[in-house]
């Protein structure tokens, strides 16, 4: 979930395969910025209010010139472009960063602490607000790493969940490697995939090697996680040590995305997809599924969403909530549409369409006096 700690229009940061966009709620509709980083895939975005001024972070890739973490301290008016890439493997690893998959601000009382997850799968930490990064060797040197293997999107570390109370505890998820936990601030890590199925391996319940797609946690209940797997929906109530199947009443337990309600630790959102071969919404109906009882049951949310000829795909970081009341829920599709619900998922509208394929969505509330880059108004829908 994304914090809305300020007043102001609901604002969506949209990453796509051809740049990023800022979408803002306006009376009677939504506005959209001109493309930021046009032509560059943007798989990771973050909005960070911990420091003296809000920062935007973007993980940009270039089809030609390589990846970089870009920072804006004026809400998108200008961005850093480091002469030397700030996220890079040390020489002795003989690896090169291909893509930044996740940007996660650290604890609120450590405003310069940042984590990023990359492909090939590795975790980096910054202690200077993203100016420079250091490889987290404890995970990189884990003996399992040599046996992790790439999925369709490459071998990536795409999820980083910090414990809200204990900065020594962290969960990361790797496709395909599975769940790894640290309880000593990243010095040592252990796999924690008990109960998670690996459909694509002879041993269906291996120690590691699962293709975890997304994991979420509610800050009020930090020992509980929900997990969308490459086949499988799971919940853990013991800090990730064991996982239980909760695919009760969904049309498919395959999918990529998952988002947590801001206040209710029993409420989670997913967008099921038909299969790992087809990867489109079942029956050509675009349905968000919501559980309000911790996964005991799931109900489709369809009002305002297309229910025919909707062959849509929602990627792993493209479904988010904000902490508005009622909660905002948002998702983007590979067909370039962004849907928004301002009532916790009960009703939806298409906020934007015609974008390049959407790779990630982040939600924030930014005051008008801090209007991000060059907005232009869209026709009200």
């Amino acid at each position: 979930m994304n914090a809305l700690t300020q007043s102001g229009p609901r604002t969506l940061l949209i990453g796509t395969m051809k740049g990023a966009f800022v979408v803002r709620q306006r009376r009677g509709g939504w506005s959209i910025s001109e493309p930021i980083f046009p032509g560059r895939p943007v798989y990771a975005l973050a909005y960070d209010e911990r420091g003296p001024r809000p920062r935007l972070y973007a993980g940009t890739e270039s089809p030609f010139w390589g990846p970089a973490l870009r920072i804006s301290e004026d809400l998108g008016q200008t961005w850093t472009e480091p002469t030397e890439p700030n996220v890079r493997f040390p020489t002795d690893t003989d690896l090169a960063v291909k893509q930044i998959w996740q940007i996660t601000p650290g604890a609120p009382d450590q405003p310069d602490l940042m984590y990023v997850g990359v492909a090939p799968a590795a975790l980096f930490v910054s202690r200077d607000a993203g100016q420079s990064f250091e490889l987290v060797r404890g995970l990189f040197d884990h003996p399992h790493r040599q046996k992790w293997s790439p999925g369709a999107g490459g071998l990536c570390l795409h999820t980083i969940l910090l414990h809200p109370e204990d900065p020594q505890r962290m969960l990361v998820a790797i496709s395909t490697g599975g769940i790894y936990l640290t309880e000593d601030g990243g010095t040592s890590w252990r796999s924690s995939n008990d109960g998670i199925r690996a459909q694509f391996l002879p041993d269906k319940y291996p120690e590691f090697g699962q293709c975890v797609h997304k994991v979420v946690r509610h800050p009020a209940r930090p020992d509980r996680f929900f997990l969308q797997n490459h086949w499988g929906l799971y919940r853990s109530d013991d800090g990730g040590n064991h996982w239980w199947d909760i695919a009760n009443g969904v049309p498919s337990d395959f999918g990529f995305s998952m988002a947590m309600h801001p206040r209710d630790p029993e409420t989670v959102y997913i967008v099921p997809l038909e299969s790992d071969e087809f990867r489109c919404t079942p029956e050509a109906r675009l349905r968000v599924y919501r559980t309000r009882d911790g996964g005991t049951s799931w109900k489709p949310l369809t009002r305002g969403l297309p229910q025919k000829n909707a062959w849509e795909t929602v990627l792993r970081d493209s479904l988010v909530t904000d902490d508005g009341d009622p909660a905002g829920v948002y998702f983007g599709t590979r067909s370039g549409k962004v849907f928004a619900s301002l009532d916790a998922g009960n009703g939806w509208e298409c906020a934007v369409e015609g974008l390049p394929p959407v790779t990630c969505v982040r939600a924030a509330r930014i005051p008008d006096r801090k209007t991000p880059v060059r907005p232009r108004r869209l026709r009200a829908k």
Partner: protein, 99 residues
Amino acid sequence: MSVTVHVPGPLLRFTDERRTLMIDGASTVRELLALVPPGVRERVLDERERVRSHVNIFVGDTNIRDLAGLSTGLQPGDDVFVLPAVSGGTFSPGRGALP
């Protein structure tokens, strides 16, 4: 006599908008890239010091992939072209790099 490096448009922000760089003292492409501005070098080579997959380097009209790669020798008066490859307009996360 210098070697002339021809810089592509997207990298001009790292050369003070100069489209050509006159570089002395490089006998190979690897040595040449050690002497160009860091912003150019880092976008041509990854952190393993391999040429990025969708970047091509030509000495005259020959791609160094068809010569000796980064060990390709240079002669005074050579023209070296750094060019984005025609293959690079789309994104493929699994691609590799030229050793």
